[in-house]
């Protein structure tokens, strides 16, 4: 049983030079994206290499006191989110920071420390075929990007294609969703905020029509009295 347990487990091997020689002159930024019908969730793991750590730290520890305060963590996380772009069917999504976790300065100085950010975004309903485009431009001069999609947990969602540029700074994911009732482009356009905008326009139109009828009635009454 013990042997089976050992054999079935996950094994990480570092072959060759000593394991202390880790990330060097790149800032590894690995994103995993999870797609649901009404939401996109993502995690980005960022590991600065030893040689580029001073550049990265200067962006995080903005008061240069050698400590990454909570305010600096928040500010850096928002800065990273600002360098990301996520669109679905051409509509840019508003990214929300869900959580952030920073390794210690000592760990990052050795090329072993990670910054982990989790974020999500609401997705308005659309047609059965959807296209997600994710772009990461954070610290592009020193970055090494990875981006992958997790197999959707929802069996109604099926990934049909993944495309990336060579650096993986731009990632395109095509997927289809079953049981989508509103399939026509007209209906997919009328979703989210646009529904409320349409309702407001309809109410305004109704109010103007009533106003016009009321004024016409007053004018008719005046003519009749004459």
């Amino acid at each position: 049983m013990k042997m089976r347990l050992a054999a079935a487990g996950a094994i990480l091997l570092f072959v060759g030079t000593p394991a202390s020689a880790h990330r060097l002159d790149e800032y590894l930024q690995a994103t995993t994206i999870s797609v649901e019908k009404d939401r996109v969730q993502a995690q980005i793991r960022m590991t600065p290499g030893v040689a580029v750590f001073p550049v990265v730290l200067a962006h995080i520890d903005t008061d240069a006191d050698g400590v990454i305060s909570e305010a600096e963590q928040r500010a850096y996380a928002e800065c990273v989110l600002g360098d990301l772009s996520l669109t679905i069917d051409g509509d840019r999504l508003q990214l929300r920071l869900v959580s952030s976790k920073f390794a210690t300065i000592e760990e990052m100085k050795e090329g072993r420390g990670e910054i982990q950010l989790e974020f999500d975004a609401d997705v308005s309903s659309g047609g059965p075929s959807r296209r997600l485009i994710f772009e990461n431009q954070h610290q592009s001069r020193i970055a090494a990007y990875l981006v992958n999609c997790l197999v959707p947990r929802d069996p109604d969602i099926r990934v049909t294609a993944q495309n990336r540029d060579y650096q993986q700074s731009v990632y395109q994911l095509d997927y289809v969703q079953a049981d989508v009732r509103l399939t026509a482009p007209f209906f997919s356009w009328w979703s989210g905020a646009r529904v409320w905008l349409g309702l407001a326009a309809l109410l305004l139109f109704a109010w103007l029509a009533l106003l016009w009828r009321w004024r016409a009635r007053i004018a008719n009454d005046a003519i009749a009295q004459e």
Partner: protein, 143 residues
Amino acid sequence: MLNALDENQRKQAILSYRLADLVLGPGQDGKTIQPEGLKASAMNERQRAMLLDVISEWASISRESAAAPRMAELKADIKDTWFAWSGPTTVTPGSNIAAYYRIQGPHLVIEYAPQRLGGDPSMHVHTMYRDPTNDYGLRLTTK
């Protein structure tokens, strides 16, 4: 393995982008990424046997009594197993492979990721061997 594929299969297996490191490295337990590359169902028997041979380099490192059932499980999955490659497709005689590759099946993830640390990337390789349905023996410990 790569050289045994025909041109059309190579087009599917070779990814057009760089992979700087492991995707499912430490801390990524239980995650299953969307597979990419060439599915073994599109391989012939000889190619599938070669793929199993590569897999056995990881799956057979334990004692025979554990390795045999594990290999049988992976053999049963072989047609649903994917092979993907990124990087140089040739190797200098006497050197190791300097390209990234990934083998992914329902009960398997193998990643091989040479690291650019100055000098020969094949001299510092990160590699991962996982069963995503049983990371660290989860299937057994949750019984």
